[in-house]
Each structure stands twice: as C-alpha cells, then as structure tokens.
C-alpha cells in the first residue's frame, strides 16, 4: 500500500487552498484593474470628448468675437457699405493674420461670395455644406475640406454683407486638441461614404477606424474610441474620432499589479513555510506514535510513549503507553507460563530448551541431566495423581537451597526433572546429579505417608554428545532409560546405544507388520540322531527379511519381540507356519518332528496350550510331530507359573526341551521338577568343545547328569567333525549345527534329506 503521508496532505491542502485564494485575489484584482483601466480610459474618453467639444466651442467663440470686432469696425462697415472690395479683402487678410484663421470670406446680403482673404481663390471657393456646431459656430465643408466656420453679419446698420472666418479641421488643430484632451484625434470628412480627407494626431489614424465607437486594436495597442459627428448633411459628413489609448490607463496599474504579484508570492511562500511547520507539528507526533506502535508490534516494550502535549495526540500517546505496559505485563505472564510448569513453579522443558540453545550458541560446554522417579507409573496407579503431584512438590521444596546457584532446575510433566549445568564437565556434573538423587531419595512426608522414593538420572554432555538442544534432550531420556536403581542410577549417554536404540525402535515398530508384509519365513535345521545317524527332527527357525534393512538377525528381533510384547504374535505366526509345513510333509510321507521355540511370555499366557492344540487339530496333525523349546532363563523366571503351562503342553503329548542350557544358572533340582524330555546345551559351550578345557568338562558332566535324570541331550553349534565325534563318543543324543547343516528352506531341506540319507550314520574321524 502506498503511504499517503498526512504531513504531505496537510501541506498540499493548506498551501493549495491558499494558492487558490491568492490566485483568485490576483485574478480579481487583475480583472478589476483592467476593468478599471478600461473605465478610466472610457472616462478619459468621455471627458476628453466634452473637453474636445468645449474647446472647439471656445475656439469658435473666440473666433466669433474676433469676427464680430471686425464687422463692427466702422471703417470696415463703410467699406462694405460702399462696396469697396479691395479694402474689404485687405481687411479680411489683416484679420486672418491677426486671429490665425485659415481664411476669411465676405458674402453680400444674398449670400454670394464677394471676396475672400485668398483673393486668388475667388470664384472657386464653394461652401458645400454647413451645419451649426454651437450658437455662433458652424462646421462647413468647403472645397472638400472640413472647417470650423464663424460668421458675422455686417450691419450698416441693416445687413449689408457677411463675413465668415474658417478654421481648418486639420492635423495642427488635432494636435492642439490632443494636448488638451489627452486623446488621439482624427478628423474625417467624407462624401457619399467616401473619405475625402483625414487629419489626425498619430500615424494610426491613416487606418480606417470605421467610424464606430468601442474598443479596437490598432498596431498592437488597444484604444477606446468614440465618434463625434460634427456635420451630417447628405452627402457630406464630418466627424471627429477620438481615441483613448488603453495602454496609458493600464500602465498606471502596472505598479499595482507588480506589487500585488510580489505580495502574492511572498504570502504564498510565507504560508507554505507556515503550513510545513504546522503540518510538521501535527505529523511529527503522529509519526512518533506510529513508530512507537511499530516498536510495540515488534515486541519492544521498553521506552515510555509520551508526547509533551495536552491535546488529543497527547491523550493518544498516554493510551498507547497504557497499552504498551498492559501488553508487556500480559506477554511476560504468557512467557512465564510458556516457560514454567504450573505444578512446581519451576521452569519447564521449553525454558530448558531455550537456555540450552543459548548455551550451545555461546559455545560453552555443559551437562544436561534428566531425572525421574522409579516406577512412577505404578505409584500413580496406586496412589493417584494428586499424591504424585504432592510428592513432586515436596521433592522440589526439599531440593531448595541444595542446587548450585548457576544451575537450571526444571520440571516437565511426563519427563521429570531436567537439570542444566553450564560450564561443567561430565565428571563434575555427575557428582552434582548424584547429590541431587541422594537428596531426592531422602525420606519425605507426603500427605500422611512417609516414604523414600528412588530416582534415576540420564546424563548427556555437550558438545561431547551433541550440539542440538532437541537431540540433547532426547539423548538424556535415552540415557535415563539405561539407568537402573543401585550403583547404575546415573547413566551417561552413549552414542552407539543411541543408534541401536533407533534401530530397535524401528524394528519394534516394523515387527508388528512383518507378518502382514510377508517378510517372515520359516527355515528348518536338521537335528542328527547320533546313535542312529538319522535325521528325525528339525528345528524351525524364524527369518525376518526386512524390506529395507534386509535380513534381521533372530538374536536381535526375537529379544526385541520379547521386550515389546510382540513375541506372542510371532509365536502364533510360527505355529501356523510349522503346522502348515507339517501337514504338507505328512501328506507327502515325510515324517519329521519339528521343534519350535517359545518364549516366557507364551508360557505366561494360560490359553497358550489350548491354542497349540487347536492349531494341530485343525491340520489333523498328531502332537508327536511337535516339540517346543523353552530357554532356561524363561523357565527360571517364574518356574512355578510356567510349570502349569509346561505340564499342560506335556499332557498334550508335545515333546519339551530346555533351550540354551547353561546360561541360566538353574539348578538341576529345579530342572528335575520340569516336565521336559530334552536338555539342549547352549552352543557357547559346544563351539570350542574339541579344543578341550572347561567347556568340555561341563558338557561331559551335563550329558552324564542329564542321562541320569532320564533326559536326552541335544548339542547345538556343531561346526566341525571333531565336535561331532567328541559328542558321539560321549553319547550325546542329538547334534545340531552348521557342520551338519545350516537352517534350510523346506525345499532345500527335502533335497538335503535325499542327498545325505545315511551319510551321517557312520562317522569316523577323517
């Protein structure tokens, strides 16, 4: 969005308005002065016209008087009365010179010209038109020229003749009148609309003025003109054209206009400066407030917002400041809540994460520890959440004052305590954490109960273990999982453990879908009956070919399945697979007993024997074909409980074996009480059997003891002929191992059985 600045707008508006007013004033004055000039010119013209007429009349009067004097002269009258023309003419000439007339004429009583001052012209002088101009004066056209004419009758005492004096309406007169009137003057006489002569004061007058009144331009100069008709006797006419130049009138206003222009410009400049200043005083605080609001928007709540004004803007500033402090308080509360645990009032994981990030950025070393209560879940179930909350609160109170001042202790529900120890190496930190666990382990009074609680801790150090806050938190929790009550109550994170952990998590997850994705398969390893040299038994082993990770070792995924509770599902799948295979073989006349591994968890399930039975029945397979192998440790975990399951299975007619014997520290007495028929010696004892040593002694005595208890002995892990012969010599019943055959698919197994029939019957050392 384009910002339309308030300040600019204010300036533009106010200055624009003023400019408009000034322009209007200027135009008004300009127009009115022009008008006034015109009016002045008009006035001058009117006055000039009157003056013109008056002057002409005065001139006429003057001339008339002079003429009267002439005709009153006794001598002249005598000359006239006696018809003395030469005398008359000389008198006329004398008078013409005296009064400056152009010509004097003498007429007899009939009006016929008798003589004139210009004697030579006698007879040619023709008065063509005559019209009164004033009481005593006339305008006459004589010989096509305009004249002012005054006359006087010569009386002796009756009229005996007449004298007329004429004054030419010529340029000289015009100039004289111009001096007095200030107007340009032009005399025009015409005959039948044709101009006969013109006399004027200025060159322009040679142009046709059209004999009209009004304004016109002549040679670039404006004039107001008026026409005074002096004579109008068709076909003759004489007129005076008067022109008042506008330029003179206008010139008188030029100074005024110039001054007005200067004043206008100064006013505009001054007002512009004022507007800039005024708008600045309005816009500047607004800008300040906008900046303050922007600052608040960015989360900067420092700096009081205030304007030293008592108007609305000042009020607005106060309001913004109130808003600023309000937002700051609320945000502080929100931030506190975001970074603190409401139960304990301690910082939460977010706070730790933030602090950790800052510490990581600073490049300092340090240690993060996660502490949690042992068997917190059980306690919660037993005592309730309120109790746990109280316990945690009590523990926090108990810890108070015992933690290093520079440490950060946090509580996060579901995670436990988080302790951030900056600037410390691992050894130092472990001591601090151990002290803390000891403190937490002290007896506490929670509600009405006095108790000791056990706490574990996982410790991770940076930059040793990682440089990412998220990773460090995760690693601490992995380490915590490794901690066990007792001496190992503090576990330090190990990188390899983490990778295995990741793999385990993935496998644990994928294992549940392995059957569904048909990644599971069963292979069979032959078991050689050493006495007969025949293979009557095979052990069914599970294979998991992970779609991405490839074949997964059974050691890895079986343990994982046991830990994660998926083992039951695997056993079921294996059971089904084995049953199906057995059914297949029996149908085809292949009679093999298949041994299958079961876990302790299977034994925990009271319905397990029933399920086995149903599966076999469904395929119409005799229980003789199935053998189950249970590890020693599984049996020993809860011998009494497992016993019922084992008995139930045995009652079904299923052969039972104790697997991995020798790893579980079981007593032979216990073993004796179990309804098992076979004892399977752990391969760790068999592998180096031929080399002699302790293993050979153990195996030998185990075989003897087992035989004494009526148990058959199975040895697995046979990898060479020496081991096989050694076991045969010691009367071990069954042997199993890579030397005989690795686990094979059913097809391969069938071929192997074909190929090797009888080959293991006579075994002699090579």
């Amino acid at each position: 969005m384009r910002v339309r600045y308030l300040r600019t707008r204010l300036i533009v508006t106010s200055v624009g308005l003023l400019a408009l007013v000034l322009v209007a004033v200027f135009l008004a004055v300009y127009t009115s002065t022009n008008f006034s000039a015109k009016r002045q010119a008009q006035h001058q013209l009117e006055v000039g016209s009157k003056v013109f007429s008056n002057l002409l009349e005065a001139r006429a009067r003057e001339l008339t008087n002079a003429t009267q004097i002439l005709v009153a002269d006794f001598g002249f009258r005598q000359a006239v009365a006696t018809g003395d023309l030469p005398t008359i003419r000389s008198a006329l000439q004398n008078q013409v010179r005296r009064i400056g007339a152009d010509q004097a004429m003498f007429f007899d009583v009939q009006g016929e010209l008798q003589t004139s001052s210009a004697a030579a012209n006698v007879g040619r002088v023709v008065v063509e038109a005559l019209q009164p101009f004033s009481e005593q004066a006339f305008i006459a056209v004589i010989d096509h020229q305009p004249y002012l004419l005054v006359e006087a009758v010569v009386r002796a005492p009756v009229p005996v003749g007449q004298v007329a004096m004429v004054f030419s309406l010529d340029a000289a007169l015009a100039r004289e009148l111009q001096k007095l009137t200030g107007l340009e003057i032009r005399f025009v006489s015409s005959l039948d609309e044709e101009i006969m002569s013109t006399y004027s004061t200025s060159p322009y007058a040679q142009q046709d003025m059209n004999l009209q009144e009004g304004t016109r331009k002549l040679e670039g100069e404006g004039y107001l003109t008026t026409v005074i008709t002096l004579l109008d006797q068709a076909p003759y006419s004489v007129s005076a054209q008067l022109a008042s130049p506008l330029s003179e009138a206008l010139a008188s206003f030029d100074d005024l206009k110039r001054e007005l222009l200067v004043i206008t410009l100064i006013a505009l400049l001054a007002s512009s400066l004022l507007a800039v200043r005024l708008s600045g005083s309005l816009a500047r605080p607004v800008t300040l407030l906008a900046e303050a609001a922007k600052r608040i928007g960015r989360g900067d709540y420092t700096g009081k917002v205030a304007l030293a004004r008592d108007d609305e803007l000042g009020l607005l500033a106060d309001s913004i400041d109130t808003m600023r402090s309000g937002i700051a308080e609320r945000e502080e509360l929100i931030a506190h809540n975001a970074m603190h645990d409401p139960l304990t009032g301690l910082p939460n994981v977010s706070a730790v994460r933030e602090r950790l990030k800052a510490a990581l950025i600073s490049g300092q070393q340090g240690v993060l520890a996660q502490c949690n209560l042992v068997s917190a879940e059980l306690m919660t179930k037993a005592r309730g959440q309120d109790f746990m909350d109280t316990l945690v609160r009590q523990s926090v109170t108990h810890l108070q004052g015992h933690m290093p001042a520079d440490s950060l202790l946090a509580w996060q529900p579901g995670v436990g305590f988080l302790l951030l120890l900056e600037h410390r190496d691992l050894d130092e930190a472990v001591v601090v954490v151990d002290d803390m666990l000891s403190k937490l382990g002290e007896k506490l009074q929670v509600d009405d109960i006095k108790l000791r609680s056990q706490w574990l801790a996982g410790v991770v150090s940076w930059p040793l273990h990682g440089s990412d806050a998220h990773d460090l938190l995760r690693q601490a929790s992995i380490a915590l999982a490794d901690a066990t009550p007792g001496p190992e109550r503090i576990a330090v994170y190990q990188a390899q453990r983490d990778q295995a952990y990741q793999r385990r998590i993935r496998l644990a997850r994928d294992l549940r879908y392995a059957a569904q994705y048909k990644e599971l398969s069963a292979v069979y390893q032959p078991k050689l009956d050493l006495a007969s040299g025949e293979v009557r038994q095979v052990e069914a082993l599970m294979r998991w070919n992970h779609s991405e990770l490839g074949p997964i070792s059974p050691d890895e995924f079986i343990i994982l399945a046991e830990q994660t509770g998926s083992i039951g599902m695997l056993t079921q799948w294996m059971m089904a697979a084995v049953a199906s295979q057995l059914s297949n073989w029996i149908d085809r006349g292949i009679h093999l007993q298949v041994a299958m591994n079961i876990s302790a968890r299977d034994l925990d399930d009271p319905h397990f024997p029933l399920r086995i039975e149903r599966v076999l029945q469904a395929q119409e397979i005799s229980t003789d074909y199935l053998a189950l192998e249970v590890t020693e440790s599984a049996v020993m975990k809860d011998p009494e409980r497992n016993l019922s399951s084992l008995r139930a299975l045995r009652d079904l007619g299923i052969r039972l074996a104790v697997d991995d014997y020798g790893t579980g520290y079981s007593s032979l007495a216990t073993l004796k009480s179990l309804p098992v028929q076979d004892l399977k010696i752990d391969k760790s004892f068999v592998l180096q059997l031929a080399e002699g040593g302790d293993d050979a002694v153990i195996v030998k005595s185990t075989i003897e003891l087992a035989h004494n208890m009526g148990l058959k002995v199975i040895a697995e892990g046979i990898e060479n002929i020496h081991s096989l012969n050694w076991l045969k010599e010691r009367h071990c019943d069954v042997a199993q191992g890579y030397f005989i055959s690795r686990p094979l698919s059913p097809v391969d197994l069938e071929r192997w059985l074909e190929d090797t029939r009888g080959s293991f019957g006579v075994m002699e050392p090579a």
Binding site: A72, A129, L130, E151, V153, A156, P157
Partner: protein
C-alpha cells in the same frame, strides 16, 4: 448749466402735440378720411409710408430724427427732397449717427444734445441710419419727390389732411423694401375711410434680427 433730458423730452412732446393739434385743426377744415394700413395678414402695419402724387405739396419744415433711449425716433421719417433734418440727441450718451446710403452718406461724429448741425437731404431715396456706437440703433429716412406723404402709426393709421378730393396716384414704402423705392398702388381716392393691405409679411414687419445670408442658404440644414 444744469441739463435735464426730461425737460427736453417734455418740450418735444409738447411740440409734437401742438403739431398734431394743428393737423387736427386742418383736418377739421376739410374732411379727413381714416386710412389704415395692414400687412399681408391684416395686422396693422406701423412705420409704413403712404405717398400721394399729383397734388399740391404741403409746405412744412422742422424735420427731426431724434434719438431717445438709444433708438431713432421716429423709426421711419419721410421728408421731401432738400429737407433739412435735425438730429438732436435726447439721450445722455453720445451718438455717432451715420449713413452709408447712396441717397445721402453722412456722418455725425460723437455728438450730444443739439451739437450736430442739421443734414440736408438733396436726393430722393432711402437713407438708412445707424449709430456707430450702438449697433442696435436703426432708423430710416425716406427722401421723396412726392408732394404728400405720411407714416403710419402703431395702429397702422395714416393721416393725410386736406387732400384734394378725387383719385390720385398713390404709392407705398416700407423698410422691407430697403433696396427699392416706393411702389405704386395705382390711383386711389383717399377721401374716404379705407384699409390698405400691403404685401409685407409679418416677419418683415417686425424689426427682428434676420438670419445671416449664409444661414439662409443652408436653412434646409436646420
């Protein structure tokens, strides 16, 4: 010496009255008919001269052209050829009476009272009188060869006493006929009361200023 124009005026009036009384007496002797002159419109025409020829003249003298109140009195004076006319000045200002008429050009320079000598008019004709000082003064003297003549008064009446009975050649003159002599009316019997209408316009009858000749020429322009 104490000069009183008033007394002079009284004397003149008395004299005139005496003269009139004498005429009345004479008229009483023979029958004096009442003759009235009118202008063309029928209005009484004053200062017109009626002249009768063929009758014996009446001897008379004492022709006077007085100047009273800057006017010639009478306005028109008729006198026989050879008559001696006195120009007394009854005003208390000087007059400069002159005439440029062919019949008798003369000049009486700046005179007062009876200083001026009488002027003898020895030719017949019209003599126009003016005063060089007072332009408005205008008077006429008709010098005639006719034995009997009279000037009409304000009422247009003409008195010709003791006229022999019978028809006589009669003519008339008025200042409107300035450049001309008397005009004949034919032979008339003036022994009876009668009114004579003369071809004089009312305008001509009045002694008002005329338009100038030039103005008259361009009268159409008014």
């Amino acid at each position: 010496m104490l000069y009183s124009p008033y007394r002079r005026f009284l004397a003149c009036t008395l004299m005139t009255a005496l003269l009139a009384a004498t005429q009345l007496l004479l008229a009483g002797r023979s029958l004096a008919a009442q003759i009235t002159l009118t202008d063309a419109t029928g209005a009484p025409l004053a200062n017109a001269v009626l002249l009768v020829d063929g009758v014996p003249p009446l001897t008379a003298d004492g022709y006077v052209m007085d100047q009273i109140d800057r006017q010639f009195v009478p306005h028109v004076l008729a006198a026989p050829v050879g008559a001696e006319v006195d120009f007394p000045n009854s005003d208390d200002v000087r007059h400069h009476v002159y005439s440029f008429s062919e019949a008798k050009p003369f000049e009486l320079r700046l005179f007062k009272g009876s200083e001026a000598p009488p002027v003898v008019f020895d030719r017949s004709g019209v003599v126009v009188l003016g005063c060089n000082i007072h332009d408005a003064m205008l008077g006429y003297i008709l010098i005639t060869d006719s034995p009997r003549f009279a000037v009409s008064d304000v009422q247009g009446r003409v008195s010709l006493p003791d006229l022999p009975a019978g028809k006589w050649p009669v003519s008339w003159w008025h200042s409107s006929r300035l450049q001309k002599g008397p005009e004949s009316l034919g032979e008339l019997d003036l022994g009876q009361d009668q009114t004579l209408s003369l071809p004089v316009t009312a305008a001509q009858a009045k002694p008002v200023p005329m338009l100038s000749p030039l103005q008259q020429r361009f009268k159409s322009g008014y």
